[in-house]
Symmetry: D3
Subunit: 286 residues, 6 copies
């Protein structure tokens, strides 16, 4: 590293007020998609989380498993049935989802955090009845075992935090019908952050944040008040795939999370940059 010892000291001193600010606060990080694909980026994210936990921040990692699920479905030759353009999650698909989320992605994240010197504990929405769900109908269409959250009980997460672990949460939920439901990880992260009374929800995405002109990264909107969101949608500035992510931010803030962030997971150590610099990066919702 080309940074001298003096600069090291300077940087740490510079980080001091941020460390003070977040000391003993809860930060929920939602992680998934492409940021999770690159080994190097994943390494950087794991390092960031271990660091946050060491400086006294209560860190919770919520993850999805997008590309790995698709890969696995392909491997087992499972053809997806589509209903009204949406993928139907039958029993067999749900099994694959559960296996990839709970058995592959979750365990790999636990292993990585442990390897970086953190203490991690893998959880899923079934543990201790954490996420209660029911069948979701998108515009009246039955999508199979796709669920919406009916209740969140963060006791198992708090138990893990209390014992000094970084909880790593896979987001399936249990229905009263005894079935497992696939829950959107962004939504789950927002609900968990709210139930934990988190200071921040950070969505690690593969975009820079909310752009006024989506083709020009220089038009990043750094701060959005959640009351402005409907207007931004009307103006078309928030559109397409952005809408559900931003809805999660809005819901988290509405339910009491202090700040929600959409930041660029493709940039190494983007979490540290967001938390330990004045400007922050990406878009902050408050």
């Amino acid at each position: 590293m080309g940074i001298s010892e003096n600069e090291t000291a300077q940087v740490l001193v510079h980080a001091l007020p941020y460390i003070q600010q977040y000391n003993n606060k809860t930060i929920v990080v939602k992680y998934g998609g492409n940021a999770m694909v690159s080994g190097e980026l994943k390494d950087a994210v794991m390092t960031d989380l271990v660091l946050l936990s060491l400086v006294g921040i209560r860190v919770v990692l919520v993850h999805g498993g997008g590309p790995e699920i698709t890969d696995m479905l392909k491997k087992v030759g499972k053809e997806s049935r589509f209903v009204g353009g949406l993928r139907y999650t039958d029993r067999e698909t749900m099994d694959i989802v559960q296996m990839v989320l709970g058995g592959k992605v979750n365990k790999d994240l636990v292993l990585s955090l442990q390897h970086k010197g953190g203490r991690a504990l893998g959880l899923c929405g079934l543990d201790g009845g954490m996420i209660e769900a029911e069948r979701m109908f998108a515009d009246g269409t039955d999508l199979g075992q796709v669920g919406q959250v009916t209740n969140v009980d963060v006791t198992p997460i708090n138990d893990a935090l209390e014992h000094g672990y970084i909880p790593v949460v896979a987001t399936m939920g249990a229905g009263r019908d005894g079935k497992v439901y696939n829950i959107n990880a962004d939504t789950a992260a927002a609900r968990i952050a709210a139930a934990l009374g988190a200071e921040k929800l950070i969505l690690l995405t593969d975009i820079r944040g909310l752009l006024r002109d989506k083709n020009d990264e220089n038009t990043l909107i750094p701060v959005v008040n959640v009351s402005e969101v409907p207007n931004l949608i009307r103006q078309g500035i928030i559109s397409g795939g952005m809408i559900p992510k931003i809805d999660c931010c809005v819901e988290a803030v509405r339910r009491g999370v202090n700040r929600a962030h959409i930041i660029d997971g493709r940039r190494p150590h983007s979490i540290l940059v967001e938390m330990f610099s004045d400007g922050g990066i990406g878009t902050m919702f408050l």
Copy 2:
């Protein structure tokens, strides 16, 4: 149920001394194979465990995942390579093992216990560095990511027990090389039972116990002192697939577990029968 209320009372009274005996003691149950395949038997096992936990016993469930792993390997068209007659666990196979154990079997068991009214928490050997492993060589043959246990730290299990959960443990381990290793579930259960200072280790199998004449179920040996085991092997009474199971029992007892049991998981509620009757069932090692 054809049992009268008076009989109910009588049975409960009869169970009293057993409940007293095991109150606040730790019981590790190893569950896997065929007993896990039948839905009805699985239901009965789950009920038994929830009941044990309610009468004040600290219950830990350790599981393997045999048949489901084979099914999944078949589904993804993974052909197994054999070395000296033993299956080689390459990276891709290990991924499947990890997914089935940690994502399918473990989560299904958590869901079932929760559904029966228990409070369950899914754990795996990676959580909090619980199982440390290294590559195992069988007679000098490299079997890939098959590991032997080098260290067991039951802190995450004790944390879960302390918070009133039934910990459900999938038995992979982490190597110092950052790789995940597949660990034999019987062996892991024995080591975990020893590290917990358990009162009992119960292996739920698909045999009646140790038979003097393996073709005659009436020749069951109810009690074996671990010092007799070498002799029983020499006499051929313990042989074949029985040897590793009985070795686990011996190791558990040698490391301080009070009693180890091989019982018949095909019989409904065999755990309750073992624990709440005078004779017990199966073979007990002490």
Copy 3:
């Protein structure tokens, strides 16, 4: 016992939902009169209480001492003076009451519970100022040291429960005048149950419950809403010696106890039958 191991398992499984339902709840049992006279029945009651405490129920035993007090008064040749048909409790009579309740009945119950493997602690209403009382006048008639409860402080009972004991409570109370007062055990049990926020108050009596026709045991009324009681009194269905017992049930329910029961203490293990069967026995007030 003529019940097979399989039936044992079945019964335990059948009891599971009841155990879950009462787990960590408080049950106050009032015990006295004839059910206490027969050694065999007493044995069965003790066994029931130890069993309840082992399956995670907080059990409190409140007792009176009727027949043994009469015997003792006879032994010391104490002639009772009657005022308006009611026995006057003079200082000497109160001494006998206190001795029999606190020294004989209470200690015998503690010894029996300990002998059955329970952990019992004998308390009386004087300990830690538990029951505060004042002289009671029945229709203006002074009955001597017969008291009515003016305050109940269940701290000593909760302290004992917290340390894992079954508290056994003799129901005398202390007056501000420094005198000891004899308190009706049913009334005290109702007040204690209310102060503990108990789930259930069970009065063990020597009748089957409330009968529509007191000469026909087949006319048992299994459930009574406390609001119906005045009407039942008017109809003469509740009458005579039943009235005070049922008043206690009503008071307990009115003060927040979930259910109050009058059950037949002459039937062995009637507590277990009440708590671990669908129908229950006797009459339940809610």
Copy 4:
């Protein structure tokens, strides 16, 4: 009171080093016999104990019940059978003993302490299995339900002290045969003091202490090293009814109690005088 405010201050200041010395230490007081008969003396003893407990001393009161037992036996017309000159304790006699000790004396002491503003909890040797006993044979003579202590478990006493109560202990014990045994209160007090690691055992008696010449109160021996006791017995200075009392002191000291005292309970506030003056009173064993 004829003592001025200034003298009050002076006395309190004078008491300071004694209060410091005994702060948080355990003092076991054995109380019985004549000191208990006089209402005024009893009042003074109760006041002393409440005061000790308020200045941070862990006070335990162990009591016998001599004269009241004799009275009661007389009242019920129970004739005592003598064996080799010793009173035989048959079942009926034991019942009376139990009632008087556990129901009369114990409860009266609790009431008095509460009345003086203390927080008292009545216990007996049966509670929580505190005193385990077996039949005692005096020189081969069976005395019925007279027991010797085989084990002392002071958990119930410590539980009570922890919750801020003054435990008041009646000294019967439970045999493995399910019978209650009468235990000598001095002996029980010595064993309890030892098991509690008490700083002091104080026997409140009706003599001034050990006198060199038993007819001359001016010949009080203020301090005796337990090793001198056999010699004092040989010299006849310790003789008759003194022997068992002094044996208790010796046993207490031998089992680790720091100091044992025989003091004169007929003198008002003798406990305070012993503990808060330089000379102390009575005879101290070390």
Copy 5:
């Protein structure tokens, strides 16, 4: 001492109800001025505080340092500048104040309490941000680093009490400007007593209390209701240097302290006399 052992006992018994009354209550003593000058009186005060702490009272000592500050200013030849007749506290003067209060008086008091067998811990208003202050302007006149209290956080005092120390508090405060401010010790004591929810605030002064005729000590007013104070000022009974002291008592009572006292620190053990006699001494505000 000319007081006999019997009188010792009598006095202690007499003190019992007072000890009961103040048990576990918080008493704040403000100490300063002449009572602090005489070594003998100081000794008596220290003894009183240690005694109070041993009988279960939570004692907090707040001190000023008047004469010693003046001495030190003289020693360093610091000439005081006066503004409108009031001493201006420049930086150099404040340094002397801080040194004398925090380094001399505070430490001497800690040493004395320790020497008397107490456990003392020296604190000042800067510790843990206990006293927050801002520049005070007396009638618009800037007095330099003389501060008024803007906030009191008694956490460090409670932490010390919880660990069994007698906290000894020097009353400087920290401004948001990073400067230290000199805070009037009476005022600080009143605010600290209020924040602690103290039972009593005792100001140890060099007068007998509030006199109706200031030249006649026999005209002491023993009890004043704070609502009468304005009237007493109007009548001239409260005047001159008394006004600020009585204002402190009024403020303490208004903010929830149960009783505030002005007592004569020149009388030995005046604190004990106030607390352990019926009449008390000095003037009590309620």
Copy 6:
């Protein structure tokens, strides 16, 4: 600051293993002399300590007060008497020492730490009897109230650490004669570090460390095993004023402190550089 956000992230990541290594460990920093004189350097030291405490290190600051004491003695015109070339500490000098250490330096450090966002608590060796001392004779010469440590009880420091404070310790001690003694701060720091079982003792000095040639800063000896020290003294490499400092390091290590360091307090953030870089700075003793 000329360091980019990316570099910030890089530096934090680089610091991670050091943070992990010292997490929950105790570090004692001895601070005094010239490093304390410059306001800017002092600021940097305070920042470093607050930062260490926030990343989970238990930080204890021990300080002397050299130059400020000399200044104050001059101000009050106190002429020092010398005995055998050493300054005699008479009562008046000790008073000045106590005031400056306990009232000026200690409080200024507390204020600075609080101002930087830390939670600090000022302590001195008298609090809770922390440092017990006796008169020291240097080669038989009486130096007045100069003391040597006879006992260290770090309870007050541990109490403060437990409540999350940075304890700031002024090093006077109490003699059994009731006098205060001046204790060398380096020695006290070594003894405190040992009693706390500290991981590190850091002496902040005004030299670079131990130099092989004291005129050439390039001859720094980075690591010294304490067993080599006698030899280095014999060689003249350790000499003069270095000897007592290095003796402290040796004593700390001998008494169980893992590492002792002499580092250059004139360099900004030298503590951070020592702790968060591979090479460290100054000389380390082990």
